[in-house]
């Protein structure tokens, strides 16, 4: 039973490896070898890279990511809540209670946003 379930996965893995190997070997066998400075650049399309890739990013990105994270994780609670609220719709008090709960939850998050806004985090200086 188990083997049958994973048969597709196994076949997929083998096909993937074979496909990549065949392509790479074939191109190695058939391609002409003629390097030049232009061709060895990072971006063959013509974009000329400036400086190393390991540079310091602005800390502003980090704060943006943080605020995104907070509102991203919020969704993890809102989806189950929405699904559960459907089941509550038969009992009116529970439904109202559920909506009040979510209003408080989103309200607190909104206060967090107000805080970030007032701190000037959302402005790109």
């Amino acid at each position: 039973m188990l083997a049958k379930d994973f048969l597709a996965v196994g076949v997929f893995i083998i096909v993937g490896i074979v496909f990549v190997a065949v392509t790479l070997i074939a191109s190695y066998l058939f391609r002409p070898y003629n390097p030049s400075g232009e061709k060895l650049r990072t971006y063959e399309c013509g974009e000329i890279p400036l400086g190393p890739a390991w540079l310091q990013f602005r800390v502003g990105y980090y704060v943006y990511a943080l605020i995104f994270l907070i509102f991203d994780v919020e969704a993890a609670f809102i989806f189950p809540w929405a699904a559960a609220l459907l089941g509550f719709s038969r009992t009116k008090t529970l439904a109202v209670l559920g909506i009040i709960d979510m209003v408080i939850f989103v309200g607190v998050l909104a206060l967090g946003l107000v805080y970030a806004w007032k701190k000037g985090v959302l402005e790109w200086k």
Binding site: L97, L111, K118
Partner: protein, 551 residues
């Protein structure tokens, strides 16, 4: 789901709201330096002003929960009618409560609230008016306190994990609050790394417990799950021990104490005080509830974690006291001393788990096991008074004496710019009040008679020895070790006192204490010295609180 008497946790909800108000007001005010809202409502006054009603509210909640614990309510959950105590909150199917606002939880809430109020007054003296991010500081302290309060009531793994984590996350930030200070930054980093790792281990333990006991998160359901053959498996053992690692970190019990000295020394002194009292009180409440409600409710044959606890208790006392002796920095010394203090408190915990020696006595307490709905007014009085009274009294005494000691250390630290013990030489001449107060707090920590520390230790050791008679000789050993450790600790506590009184002052100016500092020290002095005068009523009250302790 049945929500229950939500006003019993209203102090925590009030505090969360107050913290949000402080945070938002502080941010709005920060835009107008020198005038406007910040001028009329400075955060450092607003926060204690909002905190004080919280303390009164928490006191009311203790009294209210003492009344409520005697009553039960019938609730319909789904199609099931369950009878639960009136202090059970957020009751789910099967009658399992997520929070239990019993007198025990309410009392630890009160300790957390009162402790935080004192910490706020210390902060008022410690940080100068120009300190940036005051609103964040005070709101984080308030969030942490609310979390400590919820932790004291949590009777469900999810509730325990969330409240302890909220407390921890706020504490990590507070430990490195002084952003320009390298030591504070180091304290924050170490606290965070070790804390997060230990809580992850604890969570892994909880996930195993969750599975082994049949997919339950409520402590009362876990207790039932642990009666099945699963409880005898190694998995349950691993789950419980890992979970205890998470709690042990919060308490700085001995193998998990490595963070304490650096964090206590590096963090701003009011935060050190907060960590040593409020955070530990929350950890202690959770530990007691976890042990008594889940693990020890039906002690399985495999009792080895009890012996682990016994060994850790003795280890904490000896390690803390012996390593405290050579310390040159008073905050570091108090850090080791608080490791030892947790050892004394753990004697109370280890004796408390014997509050439930036999199944027959338990039956009336099993209010949330289906079909066992036999809970009457009389049935809630199932504790022997000595079981946990010592623990409850000692945590109150510990709050007063430890916060008092840290208040004096914070006050002297801001004025002399030094936390070295050597700089306490001749303090008597420079500031007689602070020197005398610190003496009282230190001899109370050592457990010398006319102080609160003595009352607490007397009750804890007395309780342990009384239990030792019931075929638990290890408790007598622990009590004796506790007494030996009190004598060891007197050496380094009294060394500071000797320096203050008998070492010559190097002709330094006298120190002027602010009103806030004097007030804090006076409050803690009254608590430390008053507890013995009020010992009789306090013990009665504590036994009342303890007898209402529910799982």
């Amino acid at each position: 789901m049945f929500i229950g008497n939500i006003k019993l946790i209203a102090p925590a909800l009030y505090l969360c709201a107050a913290a949000l108000v402080v945070l938002i007001l502080g941010v709005i005010a920060a835009r107008k330096p020198g005038k406007g809202l910040d001028y009329q409502l400075p955060t450092q006054y607003l926060a204690p002003a909002l905190m004080f009603p919280g303390v009164v509210y928490a006191l009311w909640a203790v009294l209210e929960s003492l009344i409520e614990v005697c009553y039960t309510v019938d609730v319909l959950i789904g199609y099931e009618l369950v009878r639960v105590p009136a202090v059970a909150l957020f009751v789910t199917r099967g009658g399992h409560a997520q929070l239990t606002a019993d007198p025990f939880g309410a009392l630890f809430t009160l300790v957390a609230f009162a402790g935080t109020f004192i910490v706020m007054l210390v902060s008022l003296d410690y940080f100068d008016a120009a300190q940036p991010h005051k609103a964040e500081y005070y709101s984080l302290v308030m969030f942490a306190t609310a979390a400590a309060s919820l932790a004291a009531c949590a009777s469900d793994l999810i509730a325990i994990y969330l409240s302890i984590e909220l407390l921890s996350l706020a504490s990590y930030v507070l430990a490195c609050f002084v952003k320009t200070d390298r030591r504070s930054g180091e304290a924050g980093l170490k606290y965070f790394l070790y804390g997060a790792a230990c809580s992850a281990v604890g969570l892994y333990g909880m996930s195993i417990l969750f599975g082994v006991t049949g997919g339950h998160t409520s402590l009362s359901a876990i207790a039932r799950g642990l009666t099945t053959p699963a409880a005898y498996s190694g998995a349950a053992w691993v789950g419980i021990v890992f979970t205890l690692v998470g709690f042990g970190f919060k308490l700085a019990l001995v193998p998990f104490q490595f963070w304490a000295p650096d964090v206590y020394q590096g963090a701003p002194t009011p935060i050190t005080a907060f960590l040593s009292v409020v955070s530990k009180a929350a950890g202690l409440a959770v530990l007691v509830r976890f042990l008594t409600a889940a693990v020890f409710l039906f002690p399985p044959q495999n009792f080895s974690w009890y012996w682990i606890l016994v060994v850790l208790t003795a280890g904490s006392m000896f390690f803390g006291n012996l390593v405290a002796i050579p310390q040159r920095n008073i905050k570091r010394m108090l850090a080791y001393s608080s490791i030892a203090q947790i050892g004394y408190l753990m004697i109370g915990v280890v004796s408390a788990v014997h509050a439930f020696p036999s199944l027959e006595r338990l039956v009336p307490r099993l209010w949330n096991l289906p079909n066992v709905i036999v809970r009457t007014r009389a049935a809630s009085w199932y504790y022997e008074p000595w079981d946990m009274v010592g623990l409850v009294v000692y945590i109150v005494a510990y709050m007063f004496m430890n916060l008092g000691a840290f208040a004096v250390v914070a006050g002297i630290g801001t004025r002399t710019r030094s936390d070295a013990i050597d700089d306490y030489a001749g303090l008597m001449q420079r500031s007689p009040f602070l020197a005398a107060a610190l003496t009282v707090f230190l001899i109370s920590l050592a457990g010398v008679p006319p102080t609160a520390g003595f009352v607490g230790k007397f009750l804890i050791f007395g309780g342990a020895i009384q239990h030792a008679g019931q075929n638990h000789p290890e408790l007598a050993v622990l009590a004796v070790l506790g007494i030996i450790n009190s004598i060891i600790s007197a050496y380094y506590y009294l060394n500071v006192v000797r320096l203050m009184f008998f070492a010559p002052a190097e002709d330094r100016p006298s120190l002027r204490a602010s009103l806030a500092l004097n007030a804090v020290v006076a409050i803690c002095l009254v608590g430390t010295l008053g507890l013995i005068a009020a010992a009789g009523p306090v013990v009665d009250f504590a036994s009342l609180v303890v007898s209402g302790f529910l799982d």
